[in-house]
Amino acid sequence: MTEIFGFPIQALMGQLVLGLVNGSFYAMLSIGLSVIFGMLNIINFAHGAFYMIGAFLAWMGLYYWGISYWWSLILVPLAVALIGIAVERTLLQWIYKLDHLYGLLLTFGIALVIEGMFRHWFGVAGQPFDVPEGLTGGFNLGFMFLPKYRAWVIVASLTVCVGTWFIIEKTRLGSYLRAATENPKLTQAFGINVPIMVMLIYGLGVGLAGFAGVLAAPVLQVSPLMGSNMIIVVFAVVVIGGMGSIVGSIATGLMLGIVEAIPKVLYPEISSTMVFIIMAIVLLLRPAGLFGKER
């Protein structure tokens, strides 16, 4: 009775907890992607690149300027948001009226350029980044050893996710954002400065990616390629959750992390393909994703 498919329940529990950690990353990245899609009508392929920039800035902060991990957690997302805003002002704002395809291609190009520059400057081998003091070691949960840092990732990202949800769903600024997402032209005719909203949303979205990057730095290879490995999966999460749906992104991100954990025990080879299988099935059954409305 303590086995499922021949695997001890305890091992499975451990996997589920770890899945939750991965899910937290998916959720944080997909929220940003999702709000950007909702507001800008752009599928932000450069999202992974901003995530990578976040991790790199954390490393650079520590290595060059002695900025601690904790300060990075605050400063880096702001810096990434500023970079994002600069990109939005100089490049993205010209293509809002065009088909989705162009936004996808433009941000794909931007991602290539950003990644290329980091490859050129820093090489691809990656940079060392240790788990911050105070978060080393771990908890013995009985069924598994949970590193403190992983626990921190869950807490931090859930806080950020819930915070983002709160801002968007429950505040006045959020009502502006929702209105501008639903009908940007009319909202602007009501006196709301939609172009600034758009800029802020892009900043917020990529800032979240930057935050995820800082969170990832101690556990993943800080390398220029880290973003492009991630982006396709996060993409799938957003599509499964329903484009533009915030709650959908959070829920799907977490859920997918957990669902992915199961094949990692049973048939590990397929674990990274799993997300696409789920995506195909979901799109066939619910074309607009689990939480989305077809537009």
């Binding site: 009502s175 639903e182 032209k185 602007q188 009501f190 006196g191 172009p195």
Partner: protein, 241 residues
């Protein structure tokens, strides 16, 4: 107050030689008209004549535009829509524009105040008790009439002095249409300047001080209210009613 304005009309909105496009198609071909302060002016015309486009062009919501739009002495044709709105223009669009992702109250509170002198939320709820009852409902769950009231109510809160009302009576029950008429008369009395686009001639005629008949994207003729009885025949020809 209204009497004083009647004697010395102060120009509030002047549209001169306004051309507007949607993508490749040229919709307005040189609109010319004036709305004076405190006046209620109606744009009449058949479907596709360019009345709604005129409103949207004033707010900068169409594609390319040319000509001039003087608002309270200032040319606004180069301004982005939100700056125009901030000069005191309230817009009630034909499709009502109630947001489904916002609750009734969020819809009401969405629009930023553009000037002092707007109605308070309490006053608005007093005027539209239905809205108060349903303030936590999702915007698009309201009935058609409620949505129309909400669309009206939210621009009254902002302090806008020029109201652009597009087909507000469309598809509503006669009782509600009557109620809307009262509201507009009330607003006029309060000194609001109103530009009204209406299909429903019976609704517009008693409210409007002057009317412009729009055809093929330009003003075909202007009719003062007092000339209305004598020009009904002409109007029928234009409107095809």
């Amino acid at each position: 107050m209204s009497r004083r304005i009647e004697h010395t009309p102060v120009e509030y909105l002047r549209v001169t030689d306004l051309h507007a496009f949607y993508g490749e198609s040229h919709v307005l071909h040189g609109m010319d008209f004036v709305v004076n302060q405190g006046e209620c002016v109606s744009l009449l015309g058949r479907n596709g004549a360019g009345r709604t486009t005129t409103m949207r062009a004033i707010l900068g919501l169409t594609g390319r535009r040319s000509g001039s739009i003087m608002l309270d002495g200032k040319d606004v044709i180069r301004l982005p829509p939100h700056r125009i709105a901030r000069l005191g223009v309230g817009y009630c669009p034909e499709e009502r524009g109630i947001y489904s992702s916002l609750s009734c109250e969020e819809n009401l509170l969405l629009l930023p105040k553009v000037a002092s002198g707007g109605m308070s939320v309490e006053e608005i709820y007093a005027m539209f008790p239905n809205l108060k009852e349903r303030r936590h409902s999702q915007g698009t769950r309201l009935s058609g009439g409620e949505q129309q009231m909400l669309a009206m109510a939210r621009i009254l809160r902002t302090g806008a002095r020029l109201l652009l009302l597009d087909e507000i009576s469309e598809g509503l029950a006669p009782v509600i249409v009557e109620k809307l008429g009262e509201i507009i008369r009330d607003l006029k009395a309060k000194g609001y300047t109103i530009l009204l686009v209406e299909q429903n001639f019976r609704f517009a005629a008693p409210l409007a001080d002057r009317m412009y008949v729009v055809e093929h994207g330009r003003v075909a003729t202007e009719i003062e209210r007092r000339d209305l009885p004598s020009k009904m025949g002409l109007l029928r020809d234009y409107l095809g009613v």
